[in-house]
C-alpha cells in the first residue's frame, strides 16, 4: 500500500514539467497587465489581472506540490534543488500577496516586480537541474554544444593522460547531465574517478579490464529500443568512436593516470587516436587512399560539365568533398576531355580511365591532377614516353598500367613516386626477370603482373558416376 502510494505520488510528480510553464507564463502576463494598467486606456485590464493572478498563483502552488513529489523519486543535486524549491515557494507566496494587494486596490507594482524576478530565478534554477548548470553558457564554449566531445584537436595525443584527455570529455559531454554534480540518476556520478569507481545503485560502473562486464558499457551497448539503454534515446548518443574509445580504455585497465602511449592499442584504436589530433573528428577510420585533410567543395559548374560528358563524378563519401571520376561510360573519348578535370584537381583523388584512348600527349594534363591517389590507366595507349609526366602526381598510391605498351625501362622512371604502394602491370611485355628487378627497385611497392593460370585437372571435365573408392 505504501509502495502504491509512493508510485501514485511519483506519477503525479511527473506532471511537474508540464505544470511549471503555467505560472511562468501567467504570472509574467499578470505583471505586464499590472505595469500597463498605469495608463488610463488599460484600466479595463483590472479584471484580467485578477484572473491571471488567481490562475498563476494556483498553478504555482500545483507546481510546487508536483515538484516536491518529483524530487522524491529521483536523485537530484541537492543544493540546486534546495534553491529551486524555496524560490518556487517564494513565487507562490509573493503571487498570493500581490493578489491580496490587488484585490484590496493597493499598490501592486513593487510586488509584481519582485514576482517577475523570483519567477526568472526559479525558472533558471529548474532549467539548470534538467539541462545541466552549464546549459546556457555551453553555447559560447564549444560551438553550440553539439555532440562532439572533442571540440578541439588534441595535439600529440599519445603523450596525454588517457582518462583526462579522451575519456573524461566523452563522459562530460554525454553522461554528466544526469550523472554529474547536479543530478545523480541511479545514484551514479561520472564526473570524478572516485565516483566512477564507486558506481551507482547497481554496483560498480566500470570493471577494469572487462568492458563487457562493466555496467557502463553494457548499458551503452544495449539497443536503443531497450529501456535500460544509455544515454536515454532522446539524449545525444555516443558515437561509434566514443564507444570504441571507452571500450579500449576499460579493456586496458580503466586507469586514470596512465598516458595513452602506455596503453596497448590495436590498429583501429591507433587510427582513431590519430584522428583526434586533426581538426575534424573523423567518425570512420580514414583509409590510406583518402587524404586526412578536408578540402573545399569542387566547382559545381565543372562537375556539371563532367557529368554532361558522361563521366561518373561522385564524392567519395556523403560528407566528403573529395571526388572520384570514372570514364567507363564515356563514348568517343577525346584526350581533350581530360582538361575538364583540371578545375577539380584539388578534389579529385580517384580516377578511372581504363580502356580509353589516352595517349602520351594527354598525360600532360593528367600530370596536373596532383592530388590523385588512385589512377587506372589499364588498356590505354600510353607508352614509356608518357610516364615521366606521372611523376608529378606525388600522392599516387595505386596505379594500374595493365595492358599498356610500357616496358620495364619505362616503369623504372616511376621511382620518384614515393607514396606508390600498388602497381599493376598485367598484360605488359615485362618479363619475369625484369619483374624481379623491378620488385627490388621498388621495395615498398606491391607489384602485380598477374598471368595466373588455373591448371586443368582431370576432375575438371570428367563426370563422376559413382563414389570414388578410397
Amino acid at each position: 500500500m505504501i509502495l502504491l502510494a509512493f508510485n501514485v505520488a511519483g506519477f503525479i510528480g511527473r506532471f511537474h514539467p508540464v505544470l511549471v510553464h503555467m505560472p511562468v507564463g501567467i504570472l509574467m502576463l499578470a505583471a505586464l497587465f499590472i505595469a500597463l494598467s498605469v495608463y488610463d486606456r488599460f484600466k479595463s485590464l483590472k479584471v484580467a489581472i485578477t484572473i491571471s493572478l488567481v490562475t498563476g498563483m494556483v498553478s504555482a502552488v500545483a507546481s510546487c506540490v508536483t515538484g516536491f513529489l518529483l524530487s522524491k523519486t529521483d536523485s537530484y543535486e541537492s543544493t540546486l534543488l534546495f534553491k529551486h524549491q524555496w524560490y518556487a515557494i517564494a513565487v507562490a507566496i509573493v503571487s498570493a500577496i500581490v493578489l491580496y494587494l490587488h484585490l484590496k486596490n493597493r499598490e501592486t507594482r513593487w510586488g509584481a516586480g519582485l514576482m517577475v524576478l523570483l519567477v526568472m530565478i526559479t525558472g533558471h534554477l529548474g532549467g539548470s537541474i534538467t539541462h545541466g548548470s552549464d546549459f546556457l553558457t555551453k553555447a559560447f564554449s564549444s560551438g553550440g554544444g553539439g555532440s562532439d566531445p572533442f571540440g578541439k584537436p588534441i595535439p600529440n595525443v599519445q603523450e596525454t593522460v588517457a582518462y583526462t584527455a579522451i575519456i573524461k570529455p566523452i563522459l562530460d559531454s554525454k553522461c554528466l547531465s544526469c550523472h554529474g554534480p547536479n543530478k545523480q540518476k541511479g545514484r551514479l556520478r561520472l564526473d570524478d574517478p572516485s565516483f566512477i569507481l564507486k558506481g551507482g545503485e547497481d554496483g560498480a560502473a566500470v570493471i577494469a579490464g572487462k568492458p563487457l562486464e562493466s555496467a557502463l558499457m553494457k548499458r551503452i551497448l544495449l539497443s536503443r529500443e531497450n529501456k535500460d539503454h544509455m544515454p536515454p534515446p532522446e539524449k545525444p548518443q555516443l558515437t561509434k568512436q566514443d564507444i570504441d574509445l571507452l571500450n579500449w580504455w576499460i579493456s586496458t585497465g580503466a586507469n586514470f593516470d596512465r598516458k595513452v602511449k602506455e596503453l596497448e592499442q590495436s590498429d583501429k584504436i591507433k587510427s582513431i587516436l590519430k584522428s583526434l589530433e586533426s581538426e575534424k573528428a573523423v567518425e570512420e577510420i580514414p583509409l590510406s587512399d583518402v587524404p586526412e585533410q578536408p578540402v573545399e567543395k569542387g566547382s559545381e559548374e565543372a562537375i556539371q560539365k563532367l557529368k554532361e560528358r558522361g563521366i561518373a563524378v561522385v564524392p567519395i563519401a556523403q560528407n566528403s568533398n573529395y571526388l572520384s571520376a570514372n570514364f567507363v561510360a564515356v563514348e568517343g573519348f577525346n584526350p581533350k576531355d581530360l582538361q575538364l578535370l583540371e578545375p577539380v584537381k584539388k578534389q579529385l583523388i580517384w580516377l578511372k580511365l581504363g580502356n580509353m584512348a589516352v595517349t602520351d600527349d594527354a598525360l600532360e594534363s593528367l600530370g596536373k591532377l596532383s592530388n590523385l591517389r588512385m589512377l587506372h590507366l589499364q588498356k590505354t595507349k600510353i607508352t614509356d614516353q608518357g610516364l615521366p609526366q606521372l611523376i608529378k602526381i606525388q600522392e599516387l598510391k595505386f596505379m594500374n598500367l595493365g595492358g599498356t605498351n610500357v616496358s620495364a625501362k619505362g616503369v623504372e622512371q616511376l621511382k620518384g613516386l614515393k607514396n606508390l604502394r600498388q602497381l599493376y602491370l598485367y598484360q605488359t611485355s615485362i618479363s619475369a626477370e625484369e619483374l624481379n628487378n623491378l620488385k627490388k627497385l621498388f621495395p615498398k611497392v606491391e607489384i602485380e603482373a598477374g598471368g595466373y593460370q588455373v591448371p586443368a585437372l582431370d576432375g575438371d571435365t570428367t563426370v563422376l558416376k559413382g563414389p570414388i573408392t578410397k
Binding site: S223, E225, E283, E284, L287, D289, V290, G310, A312, V313, V314, P315, I316, A317, Q318, N319, S320, N326, V328, A329, G354, H376, Q378, F398, N400, G402, Q422, Y424, Y426, E448, A449, G450, G451, Y452, Q453, V454, A456, L457, G459, D460, T461, T462, V463, L464, K465, G466, P467, I468, K470
Partner: protein, 500 residues
C-alpha cells in the same frame, strides 16, 4: 461508337483518374501544398520525421545516377555467388574428424529433441564426412579435395564457420539471406545497394542477375526483387545463351529509329502523367524505357564472351554460347569491370538429399564442385591481376547447410548418401573488397551440428557487405507504409574480425 459506350468510357477514365488520388496521396499533397500551415506541420509528423532524408537518395529523374556512399567504402562492387539448394559444408569447408568416428551410428536422442527437419523422421544414422580434408595456404585453411583449385587461393579467403539461420526450407531461407526477411515483399540486397549507390555506367543496369544449373532459385525472382523500393532497383536477369535480356531486341519490322521514336512518344505521355500525378514511379518508368533502349547496344556487347582471349577461357573453363556457371562467372568479371555495382549469381542443384546419384554427397555434389571450383578460383585470380580484387567483394553464399546425419526420408533408408537441410550451422566465405584473406571466424561443435562461437546471421553478412561498400546498415533506410525500413531490419552486426 454509340453515345452509351462513350459515356461508359468517359466514366471509366474518370474512375481511373480518381483511383490515383488515394487518401494518403491527398494528405501528403495537402501537407506539402499548405506546408506553411499548421496542418502541414502537424501531419508532417505523421509521415515520419526522416521522410526528407529517406528520399534524398532517390532522384526520380535519374534514379540510377552514381551516388556517394555514407563513408569511403573499400568495395565498389559485389559479386555474390549463391549456391541454391545449399551444398554440404561437411564435404567442403567444415572439417569434422570426430564425425567420421560416429559414421553409421544412431543419432543420439539429445540432438533430435525439439528439432524440426525437412525430411528426417525418427532416428537417423550419423554420416561421416564423405570427402578428404587437407590444410592449405599459409593460413592452414581446411578444405576438402572437392575444391582442389580453390585450395590454391585459400589465403585470399575469409571463412565464416558459424553461419546460422532460422529457416529450413529453401525459398524462405533464400529470401532471408537476400532480403533480410523470410517472407516476401522486402527489397533484395542488390536493390538496396543500387538504391544507395546507383551505377557508375549509365548504359548498364546497376544490378545484374545471372542464373545457372538449370533452374532459378526456389524463392523465384523475389530474391532479386526491389520490394518497396522503386522498381528501377530490381535485378535485371541476363542470360549467357541467346538474347542476353529477353524482349530487348527490336521486334521484326521495327528498326532502331522507329523504336527510339516510339519510346520518345511513350515517355512524352508519361511526362504528362507525371506532371499531373507527381508519382515518382512514372519517372522510374521513363528512365527504364531509356535504359532499355541503351541496353540494346550495351548489354549484348558486355554479355559477349567470344572476344575474350583463349587463355582466359582456359583459366575459367568457359565455353562461349552455352549457359554455364563458368560463363556466368566470367560475365560477372566483365560486368564489374564495366562498372556494374552488384552482380548476383545463382547456381541451382546443390540440394544433396541422397534421393538420386545426382543428389548424393559423394557423387552429385562432387560433380557440382567440379563445375564451380575452377571458375571461382579463376575469378579471384583474374580480379587480382586486373587490380579489381581490392574493390570487388566476392561472396560464396548458400541458404543453409546440411545435417551431420544421413537423411532417412519417411524413416526409410535412402538409395544414396545424402544429408537433410540444416539451419543451425553452416559455412560461407568472402574474399576481396577489403576483407582479410586467410582468416576464419566462428566455430562449430565436433560434429558441425551447433555453433560454439562467432555466431553469424544473415543480417550480419548483410551488414558486413553494406559496410564494405561504405554504408552503415542502420542508416540505409527507405520509408514504406509509414515507417523506415532497412535491409537488416532490427539486427545485424558488422563482422569486424574479417575486415582488413
Amino acid at each position: 461508337m454509340s453515345e452509351r459506350q462513350n459515356q461508359k468510357l468517359s466514366k471509366e477514365a474518370e474512375h481511373a483518374v480518381l483511383q490515383q488520388y488515394t487518401r494518403r496521396h491527398f494528405l501528403k499533397d495537402g501537407a506539402m501544398g499548405f506546408g506553411a500551415l499548421a496542418l502541414g506541420s502537424l501531419l508532417g509528423g505523421c509521415f515520419g520525421k526522416s521522410s526528407a532524408s529517406a528520399h534524398t537518395l532517390f532522384d526520380a529523374s535519374n534514379p540510377l545516377a552514381s551516388r556517394p556512399p555514407q563513408f569511403p567504402g573499400k568495395a565498389k562492387s559485389v559479386i555474390y555467388i549463391h549456391m541454391a539448394g545449399a551444398p554440404s559444408q561437411l564435404e567442403l569447408f567444415s572439417y569434422k574428424p570426430e564425425l567420421a568416428k560416429l559414421d553409421g551410428l544412431d543419432c543420439p536422442q539429445s540432438l533430435l529433441e525439439g528439432k524440426k527437419f525437412a525430411f528426417i523422421r525418427g532416428v537417423p544414422k550419423m554420416l561421416g564426412p564423405q570427402a578428404v580434408f587437407r590444410q592449405h595456404g599459409k593460413s592452414g585453411l581446411w578444405l576438402s579435395d572437392n575444391l582442389p583449385h580453390l585450395a590454391t587461393v585459400a589465403d585470399e579467403i575469409a571463412m565464416l564457420n558459424a553461419v546460422t539461420t532460422d529457416q529450413f526450407n529453401h525459398a524462405p531461407a533464400q529470401l532471408l539471406m537476400h532480403t533480410g526477411s523470410a517472407r516476401l515483399g522486402r527489397p533484395s540486397i542488390g536493390a538496396w545497394v543500387t538504391y544507395g549507390m546507383g551505377t557508375e555506367n549509365k548504359n548498364l543496369p546497376g544490378f545484374v542477375v545471372l542464373t545457372s544449373g538449370g533452374n532459378n532459385p526456389d524463392a523465384g525472382k523475389s530474391v532479386w526483387g526491389s520490394g518497396f523500393l522503386p522498381s528501377v532497383y530490381q535485378g535485371v536477369q541476363c542470360r549467357s545463351e541467346g538474347d542476353p535480356v529477353l524482349f530487348i531486341k527490336d521486334p521484326s519490322g521495327m528498326d532502331r529509329d522507329l523504336r527510339k521514336a516510339s519510346i520518345d512518344a511513350i515517355n512524352k505521355v508519361n511526362q504528362e502523367q507525371y506532371a499531373e500525378y507527381k508519382d515518382p514511379e512514372i519517372l522510374s518508368r521513363i528512365s527504364q524505357y531509356e535504359m532499355a533502349y541503351k541496353m540494346q547496344i550495351s548489354v549484348p556487347d558486355v554479355m559477349n564472351i567470344n572476344d575474350e582471349p583463349q587463355y582466359i577461357h582456359e583459366m575459367y573453363g568457359t565455353q562461349p554460347g552455352k549457359t554455364s556457371f563458368a560463363n556466368n562467372v566470367l560475365l560477372a568479371r566483365k560486368l564489374v569491370e564495366k562498372g556494374v555495382r552488384f552482380v548476383q549469381l545463382f547456381d541451382w542443384g546443390w540440394d544433396t538429399h541422397g534421393d538420386s546419384a545426382g543428389n548424393a554427397v559423394d557423387i552429385g555434389l562432387v560433380n557440382k564442385c567440379r563445375k564451380v571450383d575452377r571458375p571461382i578460383t579463376a575469378l579471384l585470380l583474374d580480379l587480382k591481376q586486373r587490380g579489381l580484387l581490392d574493390e570487388t567483394l566476392v561472396i560464396w553464399g548458400q541458404e543453409f547447410g546440411r545435417t551431420p546425419m544421413q537423411e532417412n526420408r519417411e524413416g526409410k533408408k535412402m538409395p544414396f548418401k545424402g544429408r537433410d537441410h540444416h539451419s543451425a550451422a553452416f559455412n560461407m566465405w568472402m574474399a576481396g573488397g577489403g576483407i582479410k584473406g586467410g582468416v576464419t571466424y566462428g566455430e562449430t561443435d565436433e560434429i558441425g551440428y551447433n555453433i560454439v562461437s562467432g555466431k553469424t546471421e544473415a543480417y550480419d553478412i548483410q551488414a558486413t557487405i553494406l559496410n564494405q561498400l561504405g554504408f552503415d546498415h542502420e542508416k540505409l533506410t527507405f520509408e514504406s507504409q509509414g515507417r523506415n525500413f532497412r535491409l537488416t531490419d532490427l539486427s545485424g552486426k558488422v563482422i569486424n574480425e574479417i575486415i582488413a
